[in-house]
Symmetry: C2
Subunit: 343 residues, 2 copies
DNA sequence: CTGAAAGCGCTTACAG
DNA sequence: CTGAAAGCGCTTACAG
């Protein structure tokens, strides 16, 4: 039915080895032969079979991107970045969302993915320690996006949580705010504690005291940010600025301020972290720390391809810089949006 | 190195055919043998090779989801829906973003995908007419998400553009608005003209005249919505309500209203279409027509799996219902968000 | 219920 | 520069 490498070889009057060579460019083929083969392929509309290639070459030209749950404001940019970098190298992207699966099943699935793809990118610290070790033992090419158990030696990619937070809080201090609170994330997440570390560091560098009552915990969600801000507004006096460890919490916090008949930034300034798309559209637009998910996706793929191609040693963690995006919630005035946002 | 079906067979003291049978459940195997085989598989931590299976069975258990460009506010929910439905049937999802590729190359890539996946979902009407015909001729299992050339007979899935628009405009009329404008999409898109059709239908049903000066064109982007609203605000009198054919245009329009020192909904009411995530966070929150991208993704995969498994005839187009999400930009009062949005 | 064997469509030493 | 041939790890008639 479908043309195979045999059909092409026959039509071109050469052996299948030769067809394979022009297909892959793995060896010199004379120009004349090459031309004959290409013509035959064109005429037959030949498509090499990916499974056969995968079996023979022991390489699939695909990368699997695994998510804990396929939701949240981040993963779309991540996928886009990964897809861009993958297609640059003629790789394909297999998406797996480990949504509601039991752990045991997950281990099975990761195994399966391992034969469908040449390497795995694990996003959002899904995989428990033992799976990681298991995958490493099997010598699966691997990179983790996000947090990683400290005692494993997997390659991993992270945003600069400490530096980003420090920059945000320093900016608030430069505005003249002195009573700066923080809504932090859950203690279990290293992302959260890194961002708190940045907050403290900024205070220390600028010579401000660190008051524990100004740090309240959230859970990275809007609702938890709303509640946390509620608690901060009961302090006397209320903080003059708040740094939230995620935009979602900042958005919740902003609603709490509105509901208390106060204004951002006049009564309380607010800065978030992440720069999710929504941050541009809050009222006022949210000043926040941009973490480049597109770039992280690209970097993850490129790094993984490196590991697939050269079996280098591993264990490094790459920190991607963040940038402070200044909008209005911090007290700065910005341009509004008719300027940009074309298309 | 890695265990194969031979390793397992040897260890279990059976033939590879038997191992294959318990792996796939394709034929009765006695309980005793089955147990032996399973134990051997466990002990060896055996993972069947996907490429070998693909080659032998001529089926890959994967579906490719192809995007014109992997961006915009929709595709993430679409991917999530597709992934959920795929994993329910033990399929995997291959993501391909036909970003900046030339058309010729795309044809090549679609061919390649065809051997890596058992079926294709084409999102956002990327594929020109001739590719579609080409794919159909090759008998590739196919479903299109979105617009489709009217003279082809591919299966396709669409939101109820006409009905959704009609419901939105009817809601505005019930609010008492009479001078209702529309910001439409580009004429080339059937989505756009379907939504305009719904607008006209609502006016007609409610006995309102259709004034051509109240319909201005946009390009589905924020900036074009901003510009379009600018033109509407020059009319005398200005419209008392505006239906925008996309949320992105509605968001641009809202900014134009603010910049003109007018208020939504007091001076102009506003309704969008799509219900992108941002719509909840505009000020005021945007009333809009929700189109269920998650559901469309799931439906697309299920439909495709049907076609893969039973080679039924094709050509139908499924219309998914939309729902009007009432927030505040239309003039209704809503609850605000501290109620919902937990986690 | 189980096995021997052919075949899926490629890649890649090995010769020449 | 080119070809003959083995092998990748499965599935699936065909026998029994």
């Amino acid at each position: 039915m479908r043309p195979t490498i045999y059909t092409v070889a026959e039509r071109a009057g050469v052996s299948i080895a030769t067809v394979s060579r022009v297909l892959n460019g793995t060896a010199r083929v004379s120009d004349r032969t090459q031309a004959k083969v290409r013509r035959a392929m064109d005429e037959l509309d030949y498509q090499p079979n990916a499974s056969a290639r995968g079996l023979a070459a022991n390489a699939t030209s695909t990368i699997a991107l695994v998510f804990p749950k396929l939701s949240g404001p981040f993963y779309s940019e991540l996928i886009r970045g990964a897809e861009i970098a993958a297609s640059e190298s003629d790789y394909h992207l297999l998406i797996y969302g480990a949504s509601g699966k039991a752990l045991g099943q997950d281990s099975q699935t990761l195994g399966m993915l391992t034969t469908k793809a040449d390497g795995l990118i694990l996003a959002g610290s899904i995989v428990s320690h033992c799976y990681l070790q298991d995958l490493q033992r099997r010598d699966v090419a691997l990179v983790v996006l996000g947090e990683v158990p400290s005692d494993t030696s997997v390659d991993c990619i992270q945003p600069d949580n400490v530096g980003g937070a420090e920059e945000a809080v320093t900016h608030l201090i430069q505005h003249g705010y002195r009573r700066i609170a923080m809504i932090r994330g859950p203690a279990s997440r290293t992302h959260a504690s890194d961002r708190e570390r940045g907050y403290r560091k900024a205070l220390a560098v600028q010579g401000l005291p660190h008051r524990t009552e100004l740090v309240v915990a959230g859970a990275f969600s809007e609702a938890s940010g709303y509640a946390a801000m509620g608690r901060l507004l009961e302090l006397e006096p209320i903080p003059d600025a708040v740094f939230a460890a995620s935009d979602q919490m900042a958005i919740g916090a902003m609603a709490a301020v509105h509901d208390a008949r106060l204004r951002v930034p006049e009564d309380v300034a607010l800065v978030g972290f992440d720069d999710i798309e929504t941050a541009q559209y809050t009222q006022p637009p949210l000043t926040t720390v941009h973490q480049d998910m597109l770039g992280q996706g690209q970097l993850a793929v490129r790094h993984l391809l490196d590991r697939i191609n050269r079996a280098e040693p591993s264990g490094e963690t790459k920190i991607l810089p963040t940038t402070l995006v200044i909008r209005r919630s911090c007290g700065c005035a910005d341009e509004g949006f008719k300027a940009g946002n074309s298309a």
